[in-house]
């Protein structure tokens, strides 16, 4: 099962462009990332630049609207993420608990949707017609 561990650092929502984490924090985090890697559970990880360098696209009846960061109404924003491959939500929680995070940080754990989670009609829509056509043609012995 795959899980995202989403890092939510309080205060990042107003961080200035180019804000970087401090060296000590980074060192501790690198050691943690190494543990994930050595345990064979780490799939991917990355840090994100603050919202002040980003943008949001919202929609109104199909019409997109672009707003540059920072976003006044955002109380929590992402600072980074890990994607891990573990046996259970409990294992994801245990790993998140071991993160050397500060008092102002929260890690949200979210399970990644697998194709088999979807109900049959959604699976069909996601699978796409081309595959069905290939299957049908093969059954006709062409």
């Amino acid at each position: 099962m795959r899980f995202m561990m989403l890092m939510i650092p309080k205060g990042y929502e107003t961080a200035a462009p180019g804000t970087m984490p401090d060296a000590d924090g980074v060192a501790a985090m690198m050691k943690y990332n190494e543990e994930l890697q050595k345990a064979g559970v780490l799939l991917a990880l990355d840090g994100l630049h603050p919202p002040s360098m980003g943008a949001r696209v919202s929609f109104s009846r199909g019409k997109p609207k672009v707003t540059d960061g920072p976003f006044a109404e955002a109380k929590e924003v992402l600072g980074g993420f890990w994607m891990i491959d573990v046996k259970s939500k409990a294992e994801a929680i245990e790993w998140a608990s071991r993160c050397p995070a500060g008092d102002n940080e929260v890690i949200e754990i979210r399970q990644v949707q697998e194709f088999s989670d979807f109900p049959p009609d959604v699976q069909e829509a996601a699978a796409g017609f081309p595959e069905m056509q290939v299957q049908a043609a093969r059954r006709q012995g062409s």
Binding site: K38, M83, A90, E91, E94, Q135
Partner: protein
Amino acid sequence: MTSPEVHGAIDAVWRIESARLIAGLTRLMGDVGLAEDLAQDALVAALQQWPESGVPRNPGAWLMAVAKHRAFDQLRRYKMLERKHWELSHELEAVQEAAVPVLDTALDDHIGDDLLRLVFTTCHPVLSTEARVALTLRLLGGLTTEEIARAFLVPVPTIAQRIVRAKRTLAEARVPFEVPRGPELALRLASVLEVIYLVFNEGYAATAGQDWVRPALCEDALRLGRILAELAPEEPEVHGLVALMEIQASRLRARVGPGGEPVLLLDQNRARWDQLLIRRGLAALERAESLGGALGPYALQAGIAACHARARTAAETDWPRIVARYDALAQLAPSPVVELNRAVAIAMAFGPAAGLELVDALASERALAGYHLLPSVRGDLLRKLGRLDEARTEFERAAALTRNAPERTLLLERAAACR
């Protein structure tokens, strides 16, 4: 935490810590069986105490301290202290004196080495392949006996016995707890990789039962492979195996159709291939290649898988490149199965007649006598050559040989389509 939550947390801690715990204890006790018993004792203590006290800050250290405490009691009882290394008694005395579990950061330096030693021990050639698989999944994978039994469709008592006997064999053969050196290393490493790939294959193309794939087994094997890649980063074949598994696993979602039926590689919807795993696989392959030297069999097979992974559609597959890799593989690790796969690639690159010539030469191979893929491939080539009656016979023969239900259904459908 509620009781089920604590138990979930303890299961998670066990999955994360048990291999290292057992590895460290094996170094102390010199015996894998004793080590596992002590680790289990520590787990029991955790099950008793953590619901009350909560999961400790450093659960691995807590478990190790409890286990070492028990070890000391046992050793004292059996008066073995004088036969053990001074370091052992020194450590244990310190534990006995400490009022709280010692945060054993010094032990961390040993952990990687011990884990590697454990890997080589559970995969020792003195054990049968089945025993190696069961013991590895148990001690390194942290799987329960029930989980292993379910994975291989074997009764639970059979697996339990297999594990008990394996530990006894290791003890009786006085297998040393060490990482092999020099020329022995390559051979012993091959036996480790074989075990991991065996587990992966059982999940990737189940040999029996109702499921065509068992993704959980692939995950277990991938995890073990990735751990090994961190423990032995200078070994190219380890990265080769990881690359092969990552890329094959990338296709798991595309391998099974909506009705649970198998979908062949060339028919798969490539939009369903997991690009994250493909990227990881290609990175691992690059790691193997950058370590220099001739490519080993796993790296070569990974190279073949990479050729498929890079092709956006089946038609864009670089078949000549795949043929070249099979040629190299056939030189390095010749086997009838490799020859068969090579024949398929040659058929794709140079036409079905060329492939059929090679497949016909394999007809008398005793090693392939019960192998359903031989008639299956032959059937496919005959069908492409328009020899439909012969093709149908081959597909029916293949269907009779496979023990996997969905695969049998697919083969019978292919037979029926030959009209």
